[in-house]
């Protein structure tokens, strides 16, 4: 048996560790206050005090990137947990009940699929005003049908297995079977999906903040840094490049990690490699 870990898993894990580590560090320490402005020191070149220089308002770029990493991780985590839990619960329910209820839930999920997150975020922003929590809700919302579908698909396979029949023969109800037998055995598939959706959520948060529908000033966000830097592209292109690189690192990291986890959790796939 080949015990070497897949390359994508290793690279993904390293990138994720880097991003999550920086985000965690920003909770206790950043080189400067990321919101502290210093107009006289704007557009500073990298120096000992400001490793990546300062932006158009003289704020420390490294500190902003770190705080933005934390915000980005928080948004993705809350959105995926929220949308994922609802989606998993719906999927388990649909799979357990079956029949027209299952069909109904899955048609609703299809509807949710067809509904772009961006549109939902714009709708929320129009009604409640743009905010980071509305961005979270919008991203959570698009995760519901995704997780419902994955959960229902994997759960339907488990329901046909002998140990579920044995549990039914022991008089267990569908709730107990779903909780004790179905969920643990589809957890791997759900974790893989969650990792991939984490990458999607990071990108979605950046996009929404870029459009002004996410993080509001003074909160830091890679997406917002990008949009602010856009007008200064000729003056200070590095201000757009740094957050861009951060987004790429985070999205790539979680995406590769998810792919790698899928490879090791599904032996049929990894044997083909």
């Amino acid at each position: 048996m080949n015990r070497r870990l897949p390359t994508n898993l290793v690279i993904g894990a390293v990138l994720v560790a880097l991003v999550v580590g920086v985000a965690a560090l920003s909770l206790v320490w950043t080189p400067h206050d990321p919101t502290l402005m210093n107009i006289r020191g704007k557009f500073a070149d990298p120096s000992e005090a400001h490793w990546l220089g300062t932006d158009q308002l003289g704020r420390d770029v490294v500190s902003q990137l770190m705080a933005a990493a934390r915000n980005s991780m928080t948004v993705a985590l809350v959105a995926v947990l929220l949308g994922g839990s609802i989606g998993v619960a719906l999927g388990l329910f649909a799979s357990a009940v079956g029949g027209w209820v299952e069909d109904g839930v899955m048609r609703l999920a299809d509807l949710g699929f067809a509904f772009p997150a961006l549109l939902f975020a714009i709708m929320l922003a129009a009604v409640f005003g743009p905010s980071l929590s509305n961005a979270v809700l919008a991203i959570a919302f698009i995760n519901i049908p995704i997780f419902a579908r994955v959960t229902r698909g994997s759960a339907n396979q488990i329901w046909t297995l002998d140990y579920v029949s044995a549990s039914r023969a022991a008089g267990m109800n569908k709730f107990v079977i779903s909780r004790d037998h179905i969920l643990p055995n589809i957890a791997a598939a759900i974790i893989v999906q969650a990792t991939i959706e984490f990458a999607v959520a990071i990108l979605a948060e950046a996009a929404l903040s870029y459009l002004g529908l996410g993080a509001q000033p003074p909160a830091s966000s890679w997406g917002r840094m990008l949009s602010e830097a856009q007008t200064l592209m000729y003056l200070a292109p590095q201000l757009a490049i740094y957050p861009g690189l951060c987004i790429i690192t985070a999205v790539l990291g979680f995406g590769l990690l998810g792919d790698g986890l899928r490879d090791i959790s599904d032996p049929r796939l990894s044997r083909q490699r």
């Binding site: 079956g98 297995l161 002998d162 140990y163 029949s165 044995a166 549990s167 039914r168 023969a169 022991a170 008089g171 267990m172 109800n173 569908k174 107990v176 004790d180 037998h181 643990p184 055995n185």
Partner: protein, 323 residues
């Protein structure tokens, strides 16, 4: 305690079980034999209220005098484990790989009888002892992959016994096991049935095991119960041509492997296999493979003839004869 009257399980493709009649009393040990595809598992699942989706049920299935045929899943949940329990063919597949076997066995006690964790654990421990699992305390904490096939089947028997059922259905409990382990499991089931006054439905295609374990036998073919009677009698003097064919196909150690001319003897077989549901003949299911077939066989379902109080068979050739 359990009675089937003209009980049928129909699919759009055809009947997987046709007008089955059966009575099981406390402590009975009933064998069910027949080739693969003859409807044994369908019968077992029906007795558990677990006929597959898409099946239409007709006739009556009475548990403790109550007709359960049209009852819903929740009403069945109250009967399973406490009145009827079942063990499955594949001990490898019938245990959740991610759950400690002790937790699996304790689950029905906690759900049905509201036992505390400690009470359930104590009962699981004594059940493990009763079914002959060595070092039961350590086994409770193990996962299925740490146990051998025979031990897993014992765990599944313990699971089935968790809430003291009055009837245990064992669907080919030994087919997946080594021959010597199979004998031990068969004897264990007989012992449990005797000690607990628990009825046992023992499904198998192993004639030796059924002779060893049961008092009565039902021979099934193509969803029909073709012959019924005391095990020893049916095996000695089968009435139905299918039963005869089944018994002829058994290897007989007393026979030489070569005949008088030095030619290698071939084991007699029943030609062909059990057809798919949609291909089964409308009359006698065995028509087409039967060595003594008459024209009316394929067209008309033979009635079940009683030869004695507890002896019957369904074959046109028996009609009027031997009554």
């Amino acid at each position: 305690m359990l009675e089937l009257t003209d009980y049928s399980v129909n699919f759009s493709a055809g009947a997987a079980l046709r007008q089955a009649n059966l009575t099981i009393k406390p402590g009975d040990r009933l064998g069910i034999v027949g080739e693969s595809g003859s409807g044994k598992t369908m019968l077992a699942l029906s007795l558990m209220g677990m006929a597959p989706d898409g099946a239409t049920l007709s006739g009556a299935l009475c548990v403790d005098g109550i007709d359960m045929t049209q009852r819903n899943e929740i009403e069945w949940q109250n009967i399973r484990a406490r009145r009827v329990a079942m063990i499955f063919q594949e001990p490898m597949a019938a245990l959740n790989p991610l759950r400690r076997v002790g937790d699996t066995v304790m689950e029905p006690m906690r759900v049905h009888e509201g036992l505390s964790h400690d009470q359930a654990q104590a009962r699981a421990l004594s059940l493990f002892e009763e079914v002959g699992i060595p070092d039961p305390a350590a086994r409770l904490r193990q996962f299925p992959h740490e146990l051998s096939g025979g031990q897993r089947q014992r765990v599944l028997i313990a699971l089935a016994l968790a809430c003291n059922p009055a009837l245990l259905i064992a669907d080919e409990p030994t087919t997946a096991l080594d021959a010597n382990v199979a004998v031990l499991i068969t004897d264990l089931l007989v012992r449990l049935s005797q000690e607990r006054q628990m009825a046992l439905v023992f499904i198998t295609h192993d004639i030796a095991a059924v002779a060893r374990a049961t008092q009565d036998i039902v021979v099934m073919y193509g969803g029909d119960m073709v012959e019924y009677g005391p095990t020893a009698e049916v095996l000695k003097t089968p009435h139905h041509p299918y039963t005869k064919g089944l018994l002829d196909a058994l290897p007989d150690p007393s026979r030489t492997t070569h005949d008088a001319n030095g030619k290698r003897r071939r084991l007699p077989t029943i030609p062909g296999t059990v057809p798919q549901l949609q291909d089964l003949p409308q009359g006698c299911r065995f028509a087409g493979r039967c060595p003594v077939e008459v024209p009316q066989c394929a067209a008309q379902k033979p009635a079940t003839q009683s030869f004695a109080v507890n002896r019957s068979s369904a074959c046109h050739l028996n009609e009027g004869a031997k009554r």
